[in-house]
């Protein structure tokens, strides 16, 4: 497969994912909608990183460098969420 064709196929997949994520907004998914929309966003980002940004032909070190940014911001989210979710807990109600 020529590299250019591969890139165009990736683009097509991205467009499909975009259609899916917008379509999912209208479905009665309840709380799963958030999971779906971010899940699809992560899939899109992964495609852009892997193919458009050429991480597929990069060294493990380069991939680690990019991945670390995402993991690290995840840590910020995790502990902020831990605070917000548990602020209302009392000793009686928590466990």
């Amino acid at each position: 497969m020529s590299p250019s064709l591969r890139l165009i196929l990736v683009w097509a997949a991205l467009m499909l994912l975009l259609a899916l994520t917008v379509g999912a907004t209208f479905l009665p998914l309840g709380h799963w909608r958030t999971v779906t929309s971010y899940g699809i966003a992560m899939a899109k980002a992964a495609l852009v990183l892997w193919f458009f940004m050429e991480l597929r032909s990069d060294s493990g070190l380069s991939r680690l460098a990019v991945l670390t940014g995402f993991v690290w911001i995840g840590l910020l989210f995790l502990l902020i969420v831990a605070d917000y979710v548990t602020r209302g807990w009392t000793a009686a109600g928590a466990f």
Binding site: L7, F52, M53, Y84
Partner: protein
């Protein structure tokens, strides 16, 4: 930034190119952390007022936002194709592809500007005309929307300048594929940030 000539402190060109790319990737990791702070703020607001957040998300222009997402993804494709062309030594193709990508970037900016104008018309622009804002959570949501899309737009503008500058150099024959790829990386980051901004702001609509 470097061109393809070997320079201090490197002994070999392959190592120099590798290092240039690696430095760019490290910079991208720092940009992810930068935008992460705004996402954390959005997360905080959404956790505090989930229903209100959803209601106000619904008032954004979903179809314009969707179109913008498509535009940016397509411009990313053109940049990636351009870098591929550079790798094959086809610098004129690179030049045209980067110009086309920049034009799509301008289209993005145009659509965004249209949205801002519509929001101003509807009185949803705090600080300028907040007559349409119903309560403080909506004000907060709109503020977050303007700050995060504004910061993204600033990065997009920098990317536009880089794309055009590099297209010029490519057409003049003074560009290496490593620098093209590095500018491409920056543009793709602008795209990735939007990929996450879109669901955060536009797709949080009521269940």
């Amino acid at each position: 930034m470097s061109n393809s000539a070997l320079h201090e402190p490197f002994h070999d060109l392959a190592r120099q190119h590798e290092t240039d790319r690696f430095g760019m990737l490290l910079f991208l990791a720092s940009e992810v952390m930068l935008f992460g702070g705004i996402f954390a703020a959005a997360l905080g607001l959404r956790m505090a007022e989930p229903d209100a957040f959803a209601a106000y998300s619904q008032k954004l222009h979903l179809w314009l936002g969707t179109a913008n997402t498509g535009v940016l993804l397509t411009s990313s494709l053109l940049v990636a194709l351009g870098v591929e062309a550079a790798r094959k030594g086809r610098y004129r193709h690179l030049g045209w592809l980067f110009i086309a990508a920049a034009l799509l970037g301008l289209v993005f900016a145009g659509i965004k500007g249209t949205e801002y104008w519509l929001e101003y018309r509807a009185g949803l622009m705090p600080g300028v005309d907040a007559s349409g804002i119903e309560d403080r959570t909506q004000r907060l949501f709109m503020n977050l929307y303007f700050v995060s899309t504004g910061l993204h737009a600033i990065h997009l503008s920098v990317g536009l300048i880089l794309l055009v500058a590099l297209a010029g150099r490519a057409c003049a024959g003074r560009l290496g594929h490593v620098m093209a790829a590095n500018v491409g990386l920056y543009w793709h980051l602008v795209d990735v940030v939007w990929i996450f901004l879109f669901p955060t702001l536009y797709l949080a609509r009521p269940v």
